[in-house]
């Protein structure tokens, strides 16, 4: 529940960012809760965030998929099978305890791990693109173990 809320919050931030709106601080837990409680369009980004889980988390300097991460990706694969018109981007991210350049490669490694798992579960590779933001797009903006754990992730979004 907590992770889902954070996920929704993170996505709101990302969406605000994509629209070139720099007022992402306005995204509050209230916004996230609203996305969950109100009806969302099936097959949409909001649906993915609220009902499937849009992200998986990694250990420090690792790209192994935990049991929990695999469960999330299983749900994503099933959801993608349900909405075959949807194409996705998987974005890898890192905490800020690595160098800028190394983290770009590490984030891509994480995005690839999630992508490869989805492909193994039957999602066409042509429906998935990957990108890495290294340590430059943190979801949690604090600098503590909890924030870093949130920021070591691969986030799936609808293209």
């Amino acid at each position: 529940m907590r992770l889902k809320l954070l996920g929704a919050l993170g996505m709101a931030v990302l969406l605000a960012a994509c629209s070139g709106d720099n007022t992402d601080k306005g995204a509050t837990t209230g916004t996230g809760a609203a996305a969950q409680s109100t009806g969302v369009t099936p097959g949409s980004e909001a649906d993915l965030v609220a009902n499937v889980g849009d992200r998986v988390f990694f250990e420090l300097n690792k790209n192994n998929l935990s049991t929990e991460a695999q469960a999330t990706l299983d749900r994503q694969a099933a959801w993608l099978a349900k909405y075959p018109q949807v194409t996705i981007q998987v974005a890898g991210n890192c905490d800020d305890r690595g160098t800028e350049e190394y983290n770009i490669a590490l984030g891509e490694r994480r995005a690839n791990a999630a992508r490869d798992y989805l492909v193994a579960k039957g999602v066409a590779a042509s429906r998935i693109t990957t990108i890495s933001y290294g340590k430059d797009r943190p979801t949690a903006t604090g600098d503590d173990e909890q924030s870093w754990a949130q920021n070591r992730n691969a986030i799936t979004s609808v293209r």
């Binding site: 720099n22 300097n61 800028e100 890495s132 903006t141």
Partner: protein
């Protein structure tokens, strides 16, 4: 024979003389970047030059130098820029004092504890500026240097930096680095989504301006050896790749054709190619791209992350970052690829290696227990020494003479990103005299070669 006794001579003769005179050689005659420099006749005759002071000596005892406001309508400004350059490098101690008229009264300046003295004028006429500058050895009462510069008035800071470089070189026997720029990434906005712009400034933080608009995440500018281009990484159109920017024309172009993300560019010392890395599967490989033919050459294919390549100044070797052994460490290989050997063995992980232009050390970032350090080590991995530490200190970049490093220092963020800051600082490679460059939110400094 004192260089300043000589009449105006040609550039070719000047460089021959400079060689013949050794490291205390002639500086001054010539044209660079629209600035004309010519020697001034000496007011004091036939005495020996300043006794040599080494950089090591100046670190422990900065050279006391009187830098009065020069005469003329630009005199104050020139003095301020020269004083700031010399004071900020940590090797000089500027002293206020009165401007001498004609031959200085050296006893007065000696009583101030000064070792050297600057005099001269900086006057504009129309849009043109003429700066006459003399450097005096207070102890021997002789003129060390006398040069007149003519240029556009808009170049006043540049002339002041050139004068500071001349003083540095005449007093310390090594080239200065004040007439240089630093390319960087300007950062603004919330921690979760910083607006990043390619930007450039003089090394002292003046004349900063943006080179890109901030729509896309932009990182890691790197100067070409000819000082005319930047290689950098941009997420333009959500395709993170390496681009080149021509600083004169503003023309921007994609560099190379890679399936994955291309990043971490650095020019070869001869300027003919760029070395970079490109992601593939779970790792990244190192390539060179020829800037004329655009031909790619793959240097590594370990399957691990190989990135942050940087050439030795002679172009024969490449230091890079790799986790092929399990954790990110520093490796050196031949410039053709192959023969990679690990050089970092301290506790923690290592990254962002950069080879000193002097060739003798490699600067790096080391991360241990959640905290960052900046250090240097010899290319064989011995003599590791930490310069500075902090929550985040990374992206070292050497000034042209290898004596100072610019780097990015970031503070930890509290809840909601509060308290986060990212800025550029400089530090002497001995770990002495760290100071922030006053340019605001910034990261990824790239120190230029000496400007023309």
């Amino acid at each position: 024979m004192r260089p300043s006794d000589m009449p105006l001579i040609s550039d070719a003769d000047a460089s021959l003389l400079a060689t013949a005179l050794g490291r205390r050689g002639l500086i001054g005659a010539g044209i660079a970047g629209g600035i004309l420099a010519s020697p001034l006749a000496a007011l004091a005759q036939g005495a020996p030059g300043a006794a040599e002071i080494t950089v090591d000596q100046a670190r422990s005892e900065p050279i006391p130098i009187v830098i009065p406001a020069l005469g003329g309508d630009f005199g104050q400004q020139v003095s301020e820029v020269v004083s700031a350059d010399l004071g900020n490098c940590g090797l000089f101690r500027p002293i206020a004092g009165s401007l001498p008229v004609g031959m200085p009264d050296f006893a007065t300046y000696k009583s101030l504890g000064a070792r050297a003295l600057v005099s001269g004028t900086a006057s504009s006429s129309g849009g043109a500026l003429r700066v006459e500058f003399r450097l005096w050895d207070v102890l021997t009462g002789t003129q060390i240097q006398g040069t007149a510069y003519t240029a556009a008035a808009a170049d006043v800071r540049k002339i002041a930096h050139i004068i500071a470089d001349v003083i540095y070189e005449r007093m310390l026997g090594e080239k200065g680095y004040f007439n240089t720029r630093i390319a960087y990434i300007a950062r603004s906005g919330p921690r979760a989504h910083q607006t990043t712009r390619l930007a450039i400034m003089d090394q002292d933080g003046a004349n900063s301006h943006y080179l890109s608009g901030g729509q896309w995440l932009t990182l890691t500018p790197r100067f070409s050896p000819a000082n005319d281009q930047l290689a950098f990484m941009s997420y333009a159109n959500n395709r993170p790749r390496v681009y080149m920017l021509n600083l004169a024309t503003g023309r921007q172009q994609l560099l190379g054709d890679f399936e994955g993300i291309s990043f971490a560019p650095r020019f070869a010392p001869d300027g003919r190619s760029v070395v970079l890395s490109a992601t593939r599967g779970g790792g990244s490989d190192i390539f060179t791209v020829d800037l004329v033919t655009r031909a790619k050459r793959q240097l590594t294919s370990s399957g691990a992350i190989d990135t942050s390549p940087c050439y030795s100044p002679d172009g024969s070797q490449v230091v890079f970052n790799s986790d092929r052994g399990g954790t990110p460490q520093l490796y050196i290989m031949s410039a053709g690829g192959g023969g990679a050997r690990r050089i970092s063995y301290g506790s923690g992980t290592y990254g962002s290696p950069v080879w000193s232009p002097r060739g003798d050390v490699i600067a790096f970032t080391r991360i241990a227990n959640g905290s960052f350090s900046l250090g240097v080590m010899a290319p064989d991995g011995t003599g590791e020494r930490i310069m500075t530490q902090g929550f985040t200190v990374e992206s070292p970049s050497f000034c042209p003479n290898g004596r100072v490093i610019a780097f990015c220092r970031q503070t930890a963020a509290g809840a909601g990103g509060a308290g986060f800051s990212s800025g550029i600082s400089t530090i002497d490679i001995t770990g002495f005299h760290e100071r922030a460059i006053p340019v605001g939110g910034a990261s990824d400094p790239a120190w230029s070669p000496l400007n023309g």
